[in-house]
């Protein structure tokens, strides 16, 4: 049995009130579906005494609109997106990613904004206070040592959100609101390589919307997730690809991989593959390139060597599925 620390829950009725509450209570955490925040609070991962609950905003921020591209409210639930016909038709990679998150109950509770802002995960942090104290804690909370990378100075807890690689591959952006105004940040600039806080989100800023550009609609895309069980588990690897083809030739490539370190990565240095025939050899080559740029760590309790060996295989299958 794990109890929550004493909490005062603030319940704003609008986005403006919500960001004002965040500003007025430094350190306050945002509560949407609670599927990530509540267990983490039970683990004693945050010192906050204030939550800003967004339940009152769910009418305002729970929409899927086609406006140029797609606009998705941050409080869309994961199962709502997994079942959404517009998403299935326009951005199947995102619909697939949503359909593979956790289990049915968690998908019903969890939100898109919450998944994008999911705290990083590591076998040394997602544990009870007692467990962590026995090990002298770690970099991410209460300690100074990293147990994953010897001598590591930067937290490498893994970005474990499934929507992030899918939306990265689709070149999506997020709209952030703070008391000072709002800004739209491309997702590829949203994540930071530091597991302590892996986004550019300011403490009083709220992610309110995801924007997918219309260019994503015509791309051949797919999402794939490696995990031990076919449900509930966080990813041991997750990948998404979006390809543009002209005839039988590759015109553009976007491949994102998650569950490695603090941020999901877009595979770079693959522009020379543009112009190649979109076939199995191309898929193999993309897999080899991706493997060179991805280093699975022991931050996830699935053998990193196996995950590394499997990566090119998964990329090949993913690309062939997208092209099929």
């Amino acid at each position: 049995m794990m109890t929550l620390p004493p909490l005062e829950v603030l319940r704003p009725g609008s986005v403006a009130e919500a960001v004002e509450a965040l500003r007025a209570h430094p350190g306050a955490r945002v509560l949407a579906g609670g599927t990530d925040l509540v267990p983490n609070l039970k683990y004693g991962m945050y010192d906050t005494r204030h939550l800003v609950a967004l339940r009152g905003l769910s009418k305002e921020l729970r929409y899927v609109r086609e406006e140029g591209g797609l606009r998705l409210g941050a409080l869309c639930t994961i199962d709502q997106l997994a079942e959404n016909d517009l998403l299935k038709a326009r951005t199947p990679a995102l619909a697939e990613a949503c359909g593979q998150i956790a289990g049915p109950q968690l998908r019903r509770m969890g939100t898109l904004g919450g998944n994008l802002c999911l705290d990083t995960r590591c076998v040394y942090i997602n544990q009870s206070y007692f467990w962590r104290s026995a090990l002298g804690f770690c970099l991410k909370k209460d300690g100074t040592l990293c147990h994953v990378v010897a001598g590591g100075k930067r937290c490498v807890a893994a970005a474990s959100n499934d929507t992030a690689p899918a939306l990265l591959a689709l070149d999506a952006g997020v709209r952030l609101v703070s008391p000072r105004g709002e800004r739209v940040v491309p997702l590829r600039e949203f994540y930071l390589p530091d597991g302590l806080h892996n986004t550019v989100l300011q403490p009083d800023e709220l992610l309110v919307e995801v924007r997918i550009p219309p260019a994503a609609f015509g791309k051949k895309q797919a999402f794939m997730k490696l995990r031990t069980r076919a449900a509930i588990d966080f990813p041991a690897l997750n990948l998404a690809v979006a390809l543009e083809t002209e005839g039988a030739v590759v015109k553009s490539i976007s491949l994102a991989v998650g569950a490695l370190a603090a941020r999901p990565v877009l595979i770079k240095g693959i522009d020379d593959l543009v112009g190649r025939p979109a076939d199995a050899r191309f898929a193999e080559e993309l897999g080899r390139r991706a493997q060179k740029q991805c280093r699975p760590l022991t931050n996830i309790s699935v053998d990193p060597d196996w995950r590394r060996d499997l990566l090119p295989v998964l990329v090949r299958r993913l690309v062939l599925r997208a092209l099929a």
Partner: protein, 189 residues
């Protein structure tokens, strides 16, 4: 502390609780409805599953959510069904009867959550396929049975087959609410 109004199994309850009280704690320790189990207590195992629907909705009992990671205060605008509320005035729910007849339990800890997830499935889809059953129950962990008999029980409750055991446990006489589970003899592989 604040006064919370929870609508559970058709009754309104007032509970005084601090802001961090989870729905599961309120159910188990304030309302003494200990049927919802406290397993992992962090949203993995599904033992705390309850059904919820917006207040005032009629018809089905709602969708399964996890009570251990829901704040009790956030459940005030919901109608909650726990395992204690699954049986109707006419007796056991067909799901409950089928679980007993199929021996779909061993230690029984996962069963309240399993049966509520199964109920939510059958409310939406009265003749589910095996993959649909597996998907609907994929958020509920059972460490004893290997799931085979649980899936079978859902099929029995849906009237798709009879229990496979040669000498099924004869539960109490069929009540009106579960005639479906008792009368169907056709076996669909």
């Amino acid at each position: 502390m604040q006064l919370l109004h929870l609508f559970v199994n058709g009754e309104e309850h007032a509970v005084a609780a601090p802001g961090q009280r989870t729905l599961l704690e309120a159910l188990r320790y304030d309302l003494m409805l200990t049927g919802s189990k406290q397993g992992c207590d962090k949203g993995d195992c599904g033992a705390c599953t309850v059904l919820v629907r917006p207040r005032g909705d009629s018809g089905f009992r709602g969708e399964p959510i996890l009570a251990c990671i829901t704040l009790a205060a956030d459940a005030q605008d919901l109608e909650i069904t726990t395992i204690e509320g699954l049986a109707g005035p006419l007796g056991l729910d067909p799901i409950q009867r089928a679980f007993a007849d199929c021996g779909a339990l061993q230690c029984g800890f996962c069963q309240p959550g399993m049966m509520l997830s199964a109920r939510a499935l059958l409310d939406k889809c009265d003749k589910p396929t095996l993959p649909q059953i597996q998907e609907a129950l994929s958020g509920n962990l059972c460490r004893c049975t290997g799931y085979t008999k649980i899936y079978e029980a859902v099929e029995v409750a849906a009237g798709l087959r009879t229990p496979s055991s040669r000498a099924p446990v004869q539960s109490e006489r069929a009540a009106a609410s579960d005639s479906k589970a008792q009368t169907v003899t056709e076996i669909v592989p």
